[in-house]
């Protein structure tokens, strides 16, 4: 978005203005949001629509490994899986991206070269975000320099919950600058934000600060992604597009393990944000085990009999 005069350009001028704006956002009706999300989860998606949804969901997966025990070998195996999720079926699309720790970025960059698959790296002292800004910026620059074209940052929940919104805003702005051309996904860690109102505020804050994606969770905190929280974030990106003309993506991450869950999310994307978001550029799933379930369901639809985990790689 160009720096045209917009009603929002004023709100980030001072801590007080930002607080007034964020607290002026309409409150979230918790019961209503839960009921709406549960209602959308009951849609029945079958046969050709299901096949389409499964292929789309595979293309939206950010195949993730974020363990202390990650090795270059494991990351290479994951990259091979990202290129060809189902080696037995050439019609199976590749996933959207690989998501790893910064130390694994060089390995992954080499393994993904020429595939068109994005390479995301978590940064900014993931998953807690409890580090000085300088360390976070260096972390980000190192990941980008090593070849990551997407950065998943965590916000300082401590500062956010204490009401120091401008501090969070400036931090995201600084990281966005450090990203250069890389896309920035801002992890709100909704499991630590306590209320749905806070989720809405954090979403707007991250979008105002220039985030290209807003992401629910690190996957290290329970609850991770839930349907109602994603619903609130989808409403936020929809309203943000209406207000500013800039489109922001959404990425639920953590806890989405089955095809049934993934399809519920896709239904919600279509109903809340609109079909403009039904695209890997604008909606992603942060997941690891989800992919195997998608592949098993895909095989079931193609062959007519139930598939089993023995026929797919473990990670």
């Amino acid at each position: 978005m160009t720096a045209t005069i917009s009603p929002l350009s004023e709100v980030t001028r001072s801590d007080a203005a930002l607080r007034t704006f964020l607290h002026g956002l309409p409150g979230v009706d918790r019961v209503g949001a839960d009921a709406r999300a549960a209602g959308l989860g009951t849609r029945s998606i079958k046969t050709t629509a299901k096949a389409w949804a499964i292929d789309l969901a595979i293309r939206m997966v950010d195949l993730t490994t974020l363990e202390g025990a990650d090795t270059p070998g494991k990351v290479r195996a994951l990259c091979a899986k990202a290129r060809r999720p189902d080696p037995a079926d050439p019609s199976c699309p590749p996933v959207a991206a690989i998501c790893v720790y910064p130390s694994m970025v060089p390995t992954a960059a080499e393994a993904l070269r020429g595939s068109g698959i994005h390479l995301a790296s978590v940064a900014t002292a993931f998953p807690s975000g409890q580090a000085p800004l300088k360390v976070k910026l260096d972390d980000t620059r190192a990941a980008v320099a090593a070849g990551a074209d997407e950065i998943d940052m965590v916000i300082s929940r401590g500062a956010f919950l204490a009401g120091r919104y401008l501090e969070v805003f400036e931090e995201i702005t600084a990281i966005k600058e450090a990203c250069g051309k890389a896309h920035l996904k801002v992890i709100l860690e909704t499991g630590e934000l306590v209320t749905y109102d806070n989720v809405r505020r954090a979403s707007w804050l991250a979008m105002l600060a220039g985030g290209d994606f807003i992401k629910t969770s690190t996957g290290k905190v329970s609850p991770a992604a839930t349907l109602p929280v994603t619903l609130i974030m989808l409403e936020a990106v929809r309203d943000f597009l209406d207000t500013t003309g800039r489109k922001v993506g959404v990425k639920p991450a953590g806890g989405i393990r089955t095809t049934k869950d993934a399809i519920k999310y896709l239904v919600m994307v279509n109903e809340i944000a609109g079909d403009g978001w039904l695209d890997p550029d604008w909606f992603r799933f942060g997941a690891s085990t989800l992919l195997n379930d998608l592949l098993m369901q895909r095989t079931k639809l193609a062959t007519g009999h139930y598939s089993g985990p023995d026929y797919f790689t473990l990670d």
Binding site: H305, Y306, G308, D310
Partner: protein
């Protein structure tokens, strides 16, 4: 304030006729993962007694119940196959104990006394086999080299079984016990719902971990093909399939994923079952280990 007990006593002493009790009838549901859910499809079918009179509605399982049962059986497999043979024997013996305690219930379901005895004895027999089958089906092999060479029988995994409809109890016990005695987990299709689900209640109260035995009541012709072609099912027992055409179809579907299939000819249920029901779902693991320096 008078307690309920006082009130009840007062009612009796006043001599007023106590209202007739509402009949409490049992709902025959499925047995999946240690729980008793209704069929996902919501379907039921009518069970009649030997005189053709209505006795109960039983849940009619669907292919999705079968799919859920496979998930439950797979989840239970790791722990059950890893349990010690001694422990498995104790658990199966415990099933015999519980069955002994519920003789009355099975008698009410028209299970003859002699069949009940045989069913209990068969459980005890298989309980004894759990820690002996490894010696009989495996062993140390003489090899021409400086190696120890040891073969040990390992469970295949998840086994789908079509139970015979008659003799209901003895038939059911005779197909379940050998499969779980060797460390497999099992999904049983039975069309004798009252006996099958009453046996499920016995299993649920006898330390058999949830998911080790799953019982689906309904049609083998409906669920059989889904289980026979399911990639996460490792074995298929067609003992209860009377229809030769269906049995052939199931065998062919099972061949696609290289399942171990057992389809015995006419079975004499009172005779010694031998080792075949147990060895059918065992695979031999052979280990070569260097000997000496």
């Amino acid at each position: 304030m008078p307690s309920k007990k006082d009130a009840a006593a007062a009612r009796t002493t006043t001599g007023a006729a106590a209202p007739a009790r509402l009949a409490v009838r049992k709902t025959y549901k499925l047995f999946i993962g240690g729980a008793f859910p209704r069929s996902e499809s919501g379907r039921t079918y009518v069970v009649a007694d030997s005189k053709g009179q209505f006795v109960a509605n039983a849940a009619q399982a669907s292919r999705k119940d079968a799919r859920d049962a496979v998930l439950a059986a797979r989840a239970a497999f790791g722990k059950w196959s890893g349990a010690t043979a001694y422990n498995k024997g104790q658990v199966i013996y415990r099933v015999a104990e519980m069955l002994e305690g519920r003789r009355g219930e099975f008698a009410a379901l028209e299970v003859p006394e002699s069949e009940l005895d045989e069913a209990i004895d068969r459980l005890v027999w298989y309980a004894g086999w759990t820690d002996k089958i490894a010696q009989v089906a495996g062993g140390a092999n003489p090899v021409a080299g400086p190696y120890f060479n040891i073969s040990s029988p390992e469970p295949s995994g998840v086994v789908a079984v079509v139970a015979p409809s008659s003799p209901a109890l003895l038939g059911l016990v005779s197909v379940i016990a050998p499969v779980i005695a060797t460390g497999n987990t099992v999904i049983v299709i039975s069309d004798a719902p009252r006996v099958a689900i009453t046996l499920a209640e016995v299993l649920a109260t006898s330390d058999v971990p949830g998911g080790v035995v799953n019982i689906l009541t309904g049609s083998a012709a409906e669920m059989g093909p889904w289980l026979a072609s399911h990639s996460d099912v490792n074995g298929l027992d067609l003992t209860g399939v009377a229809d030769a055409k269906l049995a052939l179809e199931l065998e062919q579907a099972a061949a696609e994923t290289l399942k171990r299939v057992r389809r015995p000819a006419a079975v004499d249920w009172s005779a010694d079952p031998g080792l075949a029901p147990m060895t059918a779902y065992l695979e031999t693991k052979t280990v070569w280990h260097p000997k000496g320096l």
